[in-house]
């Protein structure tokens, strides 16, 4: 592993995109940042703008309106960017998959690097998913 790649993996900054989510995954993502699970141990921190982000966390079912915004965010992100689909809705569409306004799971819109299934996934599962992403 080269120096550049090592630095990148040691310092992933997260940007959170919530689609039409029920907010359960959002709460579990927040739980990762708070004292008990504290992902800042691995150098991850939540940033407010996509220009600083290295990882785009996407959760919630993506409907027609979210699709446009998600695509725009992905194009605005400085490359390399990793995309992580969180929760059943992000990975497959979950119970919304047959819905009228549903615009496909995340991987139909932008390339996804890691899937973290669960409804909602526990913080342990999110951390396990991120570790798998780092060893990819």
């Amino acid at each position: 592993m080269g120096f550049k790649e090592y630095c990148f993996k040691k310092s992933l900054w997260l940007f959170h995109f919530g689609g039409a989510s029920c907010n359960n995954c959002d709460i579990e993502i927040l739980a990762c940042l708070t004292p008990r699970f504290d992902v800042e141990r691995f150098g991850m921190q939540l940033v407010g703008t996509i220009r600083h982000a290295d990882v785009l966390l996407v959760n919630g079912s993506i409907n027609q309106k979210d699709k446009v915004r998600l695509l725009e965010l992905y194009e605005q992100a400085p490359k390399p960017i990793l995309v992580v689909a969180i929760g059943a809705c992000g990975c497959t569409g979950g119970i919304f998959a047959q819905g009228n306004t549903f615009a496909g799971p995340v991987d139909k819109i932008i390339p996804v690097d890691a899937y973290i299934p669960g409804c909602p996934p526990k913080p342990e599962a999110i951390i396990a998913g991120i570790v798998k992403l780092l060893h990819k």
């Binding site: 630095c7 310092s11 220009r51 400085p78």
Partner: protein
């Protein structure tokens, strides 16, 4: 000639200040984590962040707005931080004597980073960046007068010595300025000015993450943002060092005094970190009122006390 170059680029200059500032930035994040009952980042985290931004990430230029100004302003900010750092550190470590009136030059150089954040933000062509820039501008207007008054009071206290070296020597004779009543008032005012200059929490409205999503820095990415991070690391070393020089008796590097020097720096950074972790963000009008009325009043009381020799 080569020695000067060494001074400017390596030992008390660019490389030393950035590395020391990066470690102080790690200390700041670690203390923040401890205050919130978290574990906190590893020791080399600031270096990973910096090299990731510098080497790996793509730099995106704004479609609307001036690209050259956008890219050059972090460079000028870094230059300003670097020059002020070297002007403080050379006399503080006793390597060179400095020139007459270098306190004034240091004051102007310390303004340059905030000024370039503002110019870069206005060149980005983003509405939130413009909001951040306007807040930064108001913040500069509010704290600069207090900061200048603090420096004037320090000069007055050192019997009108306007060089960093003479101020350190005056403190060597009388003991550190912070030991007197007026010194304590000046210390309080200086710490709040420092907080505003560093953009830490009671006065971080220019880059309020939760409100205007990094404000002034919203459009920066990649190398340009790496330079801004580096400037921030350097300022986190330079301003506490300036406080140590003006009020806490300067640096000594012989024997056990080296330990006191390091402890002084760490103590000052600990103080500003604790202030940043235990306070809410104030609105810009509250910040202006705070500096214009209360802090200026505090420094003027200190100046009057200095006249009476307290």
């Amino acid at each position: 000639m080569y020695k000067d170059l060494l001074y400017y680029l390596i030992f008390p200059g660019f490389i030393f200040i950035s590395v020391a500032g990066a470690f102080l930035s790690w200390f700041d994040r670690k203390i923040t984590a401890w205050v919130q009952f978290r574990k906190g980042p590893p020791l080399l985290q600031p270096f990973y962040d910096f090299f990731k931004l510098l080497l790996v990430k793509e730099t995106i230029l704004p479609a609307s707005g001036s690209r050259l100004t956008f890219l050059m302003s972090p460079v000028f900010g870094l230059t300003g931080a670097c020059l002020s750092g070297i002007l403080i550190m050379l006399p503080a470590l006793g390597l060179k004597s400095g020139f007459s009136g270098d306190m004034i030059v240091i004051f102007y150089m310390l303004t340059i980073p905030s000024l370039t954040y503002m110019i870069g933000a206005l060149a980005a062509g983003n509405p939130l960046a413009a909001v951040g820039a306007s807040r930064e501008m108001k913040l500069i207007i509010s704290y600069e007068l207090t900061f200048l008054l603090v420096i004037a009071a320090v000069i007055l206290k050192a019997d009108l010595a306007v060089t960093v070296q003479d101020i350190i020597l005056a403190q060597g004779e009388k003991g550190p300025f912070v030991g007197s009543l007026s010194g304590i008032l000046l210390f309080i005012a200086f710490v709040f000015c420092m907080q505003a200059k560093l953009g830490l929490v009671p006065f971080d409205m220019a880059e309020a993450e939760t409100e205007i999503t990094h404000g002034s820095f919203i459009e920066y990415s990649g190398t340009a943002y790496a330079l801004i991070r580096l400037t921030k690391y350097m300022m986190l070393f330079i301003l506490p060092a300036f406080l140590c020089v003006t009020l806490l008796g300067g640096f000594r590097t012989d024997g056990i005094h080296l330990l006191w020097t390091v402890l002084k720096m760490i103590g000052v950074v600990l103080l500003i970190t604790l202030i940043r972790n235990t306070n809410p963000r104030v609105r810009i009008d509250q910040a202006m009122r705070f500096f214009f009325i209360w802090m200026n009043l505090l420094v003027i009381v200190a100046i009057v006390l200095i006249y009476f020799g307290l």
